[in-house]
Every structure is written in structure tokens, then in C-alpha cells.
């Protein structure tokens, strides 16, 4: 292995990355997943951690671009140069760029992830059989609305599972239209457009308006590539048009005629001879995961290796079951060390503390009707262990806002943080003292806005507390949450009487009054809460904003579903020194 001159490396281990834009070749989720796996290649063998952020300057900024894309090191069209990255440092250093004139796949050809339908986002299965005929691309057959679809198993006739293929008629990406589909025709610069266009852009990306008049509304998005989109040529991203005429002959499939290199190509209008519009047909493409893992090696400080089997060897080759080569491991560990191995086992619960005297009456003079009806339980409890510091905790079992103050729960203890108190963090208090009967480890909690009752969740059980009086434990199936849910990771109060409960990558809407979840749930979290980690450990509402926590970080989302901040739980929320 080689490192860059001067052993350039990061001076911190908790690195952040941000994906500035996405290739139209692949679904955004597929790209995000590939990048995540590519970083994991390196974090598995070092103490490094990688966290995706969605705004601001990250250590590693990732972008797709083509030709000259702003850094003075132009790409070269299809094939040849695939990507490059800069060694660690500030500014452009550490950043990774991918040539969007390549066809990005997972290395084995077209990857068409479906949306809607009944296949839960599965990828198309090519070829598939529909009404006795075999198809190797998305089709509109069987539909009257012109929407492209595919089967996600070998036979639609047998299995009836299907989804819709990427199309500008279904959705757009990026831009300012929250994924709305194109509206055709649309007006741009006084001209009417019936298809996606690259007009008005210098980067070659295809876009459309999402209202009938861009000049007036300025609403737009980028067009996802269809499965028949060409790569390179002079029509990047446009679909092949079959049949097309080339030198007077008609072609109904991609051809290598007219070329010396044998590459398959097609025309993107019905007549190449008159229009001269063309591009290469999709091939196996390059694995975004493998190329990203290599580039991130540069971003971390590794130079090219001369070991042919190593990831840091400069040439691309596809491997199905990737394993990091010993040469790469030695290289990265030379820079950052070996890491600490698996996560340490959590310590056993501390012995139960001596019971603490509790105040006998409420200390706050509440005046609201609601609070009088269901009085809040306690005045400030006494800390059971003032020396136990929330700031040394790596994470928390649950976080929630109770009476305007953030409560952090961990292993039988909890701390309170109020933005209004100068004293900062108070605690640790005993969960068992304040809410008798709760287990030491709780997964989630929320306070009902109306009644001020507090709901606690642990495993598949829940408790409802009014003061020290509890109802429970009861099974969460009583709420209508099925066995598909694991631990409840958090809750978001939605106005009066409704609360969203999160588990895994789904959420349910609970009607607090009748204590059952509403029909139509669970729903996929990323359908609405886009840009937050789907494997969040804690989810809670605080100061009217949604918070999703993972590792040391929290993602804050506005009620309009925009992530407006990513910060540290410890430093920003707990305000640890």
C-alpha cells in the first residue's frame, strides 16, 4: 500500500459525509445504501465512524458530474476515468467525485428499483413473463395510462407482483418540487417542451417543469433515467427509440453496426440519418459500491496500491463477494489504527440505590384546567446519583420532552435538561422512584398533549402514567401494532390526540384517546420523513421539531419535513462541555 506524501490523514475519527447530488442511473436509496456500505468497508477495520449529513460542509462531500465539473480535473465521457477523490483536508480535500457519463449500477447491469405497485420497492426481474410474452425491459402493455411497469419476479402471470419503473411521469429528483412528476407540455423560455430537456443547463442533466409554466412558477426537478436510457453519445439519459432508421435500415434493438469497437448503441429519435441523435445502450455498468469504496480510500489518505487484488489498485474490476484485501487493511490501519473491535458489552445494572425521600406534594402551581384534572406527579425528584454524568453516556435508551424539558433515559436512570435552567443537566434520577413499576430499560416515552399522561414503551409492552398511578403493562398489540414491529424507538405528538409511533422503518398513528392505531398504518418512514436516518435509536418531538438520533448525532426536522440541522446530542442538546 501507499499513503499520500506526508501521510495525509484526518485529525478526527468521527467523519461526516454529504451526498450533494445523485446519478439518474440509480434510485437515490440504492446510491445512499452503496455509499453507506462503502464507508463501512473502512469503518469495520478502523476506529473511524461515518455519518451522513444533509446540509452544511461535511468532511467528505460527494458529487456526480461529467467532463469539467468544477475542480480542474475533467472526466472523459463513458469509460476511461470513472471517479476521483482528494486526500484528507479542508475544502475540496477529502471530496469524492463520480463521472456521471458512466452507467452506474451495482456491477451486473441495469438495476431498476420499482415504486408503488405491490412489490414493496423490489427491483424489476428481467426477463419477466406477462400474458405469455417475455419482456426484458419496463413496459406499458396492459395499461391505458402509459405508465411503465415491470414484474419483480420471473412471471407476472404466476406471481402478480409488480411495481412502476423510474419515469419522469412518476417522479422527479432534486430540484425544488419535492419529487413531483413532470408536467407536459411545459413552457421554458417561451418554448413548449413535451419531454425532459437539457436546455438551459451546462451540466447535461435532464430536467422538466413540474407545473405547466416554468417561466412563471419556476418549479422543476431532474428526470430519472428510464431503463432504456442511453449512456453518453450526444443524448445522455434520453431513451432509445425503437424502431429507428440507420443508413436506411430499420432497427428494433440496440446494434453495433457502424462501429469498430463493437459497442451496442441506439438512436434516440426514430431516424438517426436525419437527426444524428444517439447513445450507448446500457451494459453491465460500474459498481457504485466498489468505485466508492476505492475513492473513499483516497478520501481517508490511501494512495494507489500496486497489489492487483487490492481495492486501492487503480483499475476497476468487478467482484461479486467483496472482501477488503489485507494490503488495504494494513494501509488504513497504518494511518488510523485497528479500531476497538466489537462494541463493548454494556455494564450490568447498578445495584438498586437506597430509597430516596420524595416530596409529598406537587411543587409547581399549575393552573390549567387540563393539569388540574390530571395532576402531574412530582415535583423535582432528588438525584439518586449526582455524580453519574449524562455526558459520559454514549447513547440513551429513550429521549422525550416532558413538561417542556428534555428527559434522557438510560438503564434505570434519567436526566433532565431544560433550556431555561442555567444549571444545565439535572440528575441522575431513578426511573423506579418517579414511575414505579417501569423496567430499567425503556425504549420510548411521550407525554400526551391533552391529558399530560405519560406513555412508556419497553419491548412489546407499554404503560400509561398519571402521576405515580400506572395502567399497565399491556401489550402493544392492544394498540393494534402487529408482530412486525420490534421495539418502539420513539414518538412524535401530532396535534391533539394523535401520536406517531416509530419502529424499524415504519410508523403508526396512534389515536391516544381510544388507544388504537389508525387504519392505513404502518407507513414507511422515508415516505414522509426523508433525509433522516431510518435506523434512528430515538425519535422525539422537542420545541415543536422532530428529532431523530443515531450514534452521537441528531437530525432535526421542521414540521414541513425539512432537515434544518444535524448536530451532536451531547454538545447541542445536552450542552455538555
Amino acid at each position: 500500500f501507499l499513503t499520500f506524501q506526508g501521510d495525509l490523514k484526518w485529525d478526527h475519527m468521527d467523519l461526516t459525509y454529504r451526498v450533494m447530488n445523485y446519478s439518474p442511473d440509480l434510485d437515490r436509496a440504492v446510491i445512499d445504501d452503496a455509499f453507506q456500505r462503502a464507508f463501512k468497508v473502512w469503518s469495520d477495520v478502523t476506529p473511524l465512524t461515518f455519518t451522513q449529513i444533509y446540509s452544511g460542509e461535511a468532511d467528505i462531500m460527494i458529487m456526480f458530474g461529467s467532463q469539467e465539473h468544477g475542480d480542474g480535473y475533467p472526466f472523459d465521457g463513458k469509460d476511461g476515468l470513472l471517479a476521483h477523490a482528494f486526500p484528507p483536508g479542508s475544502g475540496i480535500q477529502g471530496d469524492a467525485h463520480f463521472d456521471d457519463d458512466e452507467f452506474w449500477t451495482l456491477g451486473t447491469g441495469l438495476e431498476v428499483k420499482t415504486r408503488y405497485g405491490n412489490a414493496n420497492g423490489a427491483s424489476c426481474h428481467f426477463p419477466f413473463v406477462f400474458e405469455g410474452r417475455s419482456y426484458s425491459r419496463c413496459i406499458t402493455e396492459g395499461r391505458t395510462d402509459g405508465m411503465l411497469w415491470c414484474a419483480t419476479t420471473a412471471s407476472y402471470d404466476a406471481d402478480k407482483t409488480y411495481g412502476f419503473c423510474p419515469s419522469e411521469l412518476l417522479y422527479t429528483t432534486g430540484g425544488n418540487s419535492d419529487g413531483s412528476p413532470c408536467v407536459f407540455p411545459f413552457i421554458f423560455d417561451g418554448t413548449s417542451y413535451d419531454t425532459c430537456t437539457t436546455d438551459g443547463r451546462s451540466d447535461g442533466y435532464r430536467w422538466c417543469a413540474t407545473t405547466a409554466n416554468f417561466d412563471q412558477d419556476k418549479k422543476y426537478g431532474f428526470c430519472p433515467n428510464r431503463d432504456t436510457a442511453v449512456i453518453g453519445g450526444n443524448s445522455q439519459g434520453d431513451p432509445c427509440v425503437f424502431p429507428f432508421t440507420f443508413l436506411g435500415q430499420s432497427y428494433s434493438a440496440c446494434t453495433n453496426q457502424g462501429r469498430q469497437d463493437g459497442k451496442l448503441w441506439c438512436a434516440t429519435t426514430s431516424n438517426y440519418d436525419t437527426d444524428k441523435k444517439w447513445g450507448f445502450c446500457p451494459d453491465r455498468g460500474y459498481s457504485i459500491f466498489l468505485v466508492a469504496a476505492h475513492e473513499f480510500g483516497h478520501s481517508l489518505g490511501l494512495d494507489h496500491s500496486s497489489v492487483r487484488e487490492a481495492l486501492m489498485y487503480p483499475m476497476y474490476s468487478y467482484v461479486q463477494d467483496f472482501q477488503l484485501h489485507e494490503d488495504d487493511v494494513q494501509g488504513i490501519q497504518y494511518l488510523y489504527g485497528r479500531g476497538s473491535g466489537p462494541e463493548p458489552t454494556p455494564p450490568a445494572p447498578l445495584p438498586t440505590e437506597e430509597p430516596q425521600p420524595m416530596p409529598t406534594e406537587a411543587g409547581s402551581a399549575s393552573t390549567t384546567e387540563e393539569e388540574e384534572e390530571t395532576p402531574e406527579p412530582t415535583a423535582e425528584p432528588s438525584p439518586v446519583d449526582p455524580s453519574r454524568d449524562a455526558c459520559i453516556e454514549r447513547n440513551f435508551d429513550a429521549i422525550t420532552e416532558i413538561n417542556g424539558e428534555l428527559h434522557f433515559f438510560k438503564n434505570g436512570k434519567y436526566w433532565i435538561h431544560s433550556s431555561f435552567w442555567k444549571s444545565g443537566i439535572r440528575g441522575a434520577f431513578s426511573i423506579a422512584d418517579t414511575w414505579p413499576g417501569l423496567p430499567a430499560v425503556i425504549d420510548a416515552a411521550f407525554q400526551d398533549v391533552l391529558t399530560k399522561r405519560i406513555f412508556f414503551f419497553a419491548g412489546r409492552q407499554f404503560w400509561v402514567f398519571s402521576g405515580k398511578n400506572a395502567v399497565g403493562p399491556r401489550g402493544i398489540e392492544k394498540l393494534g401494532i402487529g408482530k412486525e414491529a420490534g421495539r418502539i424507538t420513539g414518538a412524535l405528538q401530532r396535534g391533539r390526540g394523535k401520536v406517531l409511533l416509530f419502529s424499524g422503518e415504519h410508523y403508526w398513528r396512534l389515536d391516544v384517546k381510544v388507544q388504537t392505531v389508525d387504519k392505513g398504518y404502518p407507513r414507511a418512514t422515508d415516505d414522509v420523513f426523508t433525509g433522516v436516518p431510518l435506523d434512528a435509536r430515538n425519535v422525539f418531538l422537542y420545541q415543536d421539531k422532530y428529532h431523530f438520533c443515531r450514534d452521537s448525532f441528531y437530525w432535526r426536522m421542521t414540521p414541513r419535513y425539512q432537515v434544518d440541522r444535524v448536530g451532536y446530542i451531547k454538545y447541542d442538546l445536552l450542552q455538555c462541555p
Binding site: F4, Q5, Y73, F75, D79, G80, L81, L82, A83, H84, A85, D99, G232, G233, N234, F246, L247, Q249, S250, Y251, S252, A253, T255, Q257, G258, R259, Q260, W265, K276, W278, Y286, V291, H294, E295, H298, D303, H304, S306, V307, R308, Y313, P314, M315, Y316
Partner: protein, 90 residues
């Protein structure tokens, strides 16, 4: 599939180079781009000597047989898809 069996003429597609670079042109631009040869060095030395030395350096770095010649495996390596970060130098 096309309906004809006669091979068509080879054409130049718009957006592509008018003619593919020769092997030597390809080698020069590759060695320069990936740091095996410096522009000044290329101007100073006689082309043949400079190229052979750089080719050896490249062949060693990429684990190819060190012939100093523009042989088939070297040309194949130069045409392979790869990372844009130079192999030598900053």
C-alpha cells in the same frame, strides 16, 4: 435485430473523436495524466528514451511485466476503466 446481413460502413458518431488516438498518442497521454512522465521531462528527453523509462515505471507500479515496450498487456491496461487519481506524484 437488424433485418440485413451486410456489414454497414463504419461511421464517426457525433460527439466522438474523429479518429481514435494511435497507440503512442494513447501511451503519452496516459503516462502524462497519471504522473509517470512530466511535461517538462517529455520535452527534454528524446521521445523514445523518455517513453521507455516511463513505461517501465508504469509496468512496475501496475504489476505488469517490465518490458519498457508498448506491448499488448500494457495497452490493455491503458484502455481499462480506472480511477482518475494519478499513480505517481501529487
Amino acid at each position: 435485430a437488424p433485418l440485413h446481413s451486410k456489414p454497414q460502413a463504419v461511421i464517426t458518431f457525433p460527439g466522438e473523436l474523429l479518429s481514435a488516438p494511435s497507440d503512442v498518442e494513447l501511451a503519452e497521454s496516459y503516462l502524462l495524466r497519471f504522473g509517470y512522465i512530466q511535461e517538462a521531462e517529455a520535452r527534454r528527453s528524446s521521445k523514445h528514451v523518455s517513453l521507455a523509462k516511463a513505461l517501465r515505471r508504469m509496468q512496475k507500479q501496475l504489476g505488469l511485466e517490465e518490458t519498457g515496450e508498448l506491448d499488448a498487456s500494457t495497452l490493455e491496461a491503458m484502455r481499462a476503466p480506472r480511477c482518475g487519481v494519478p499513480d505517481v506524484g501529487g
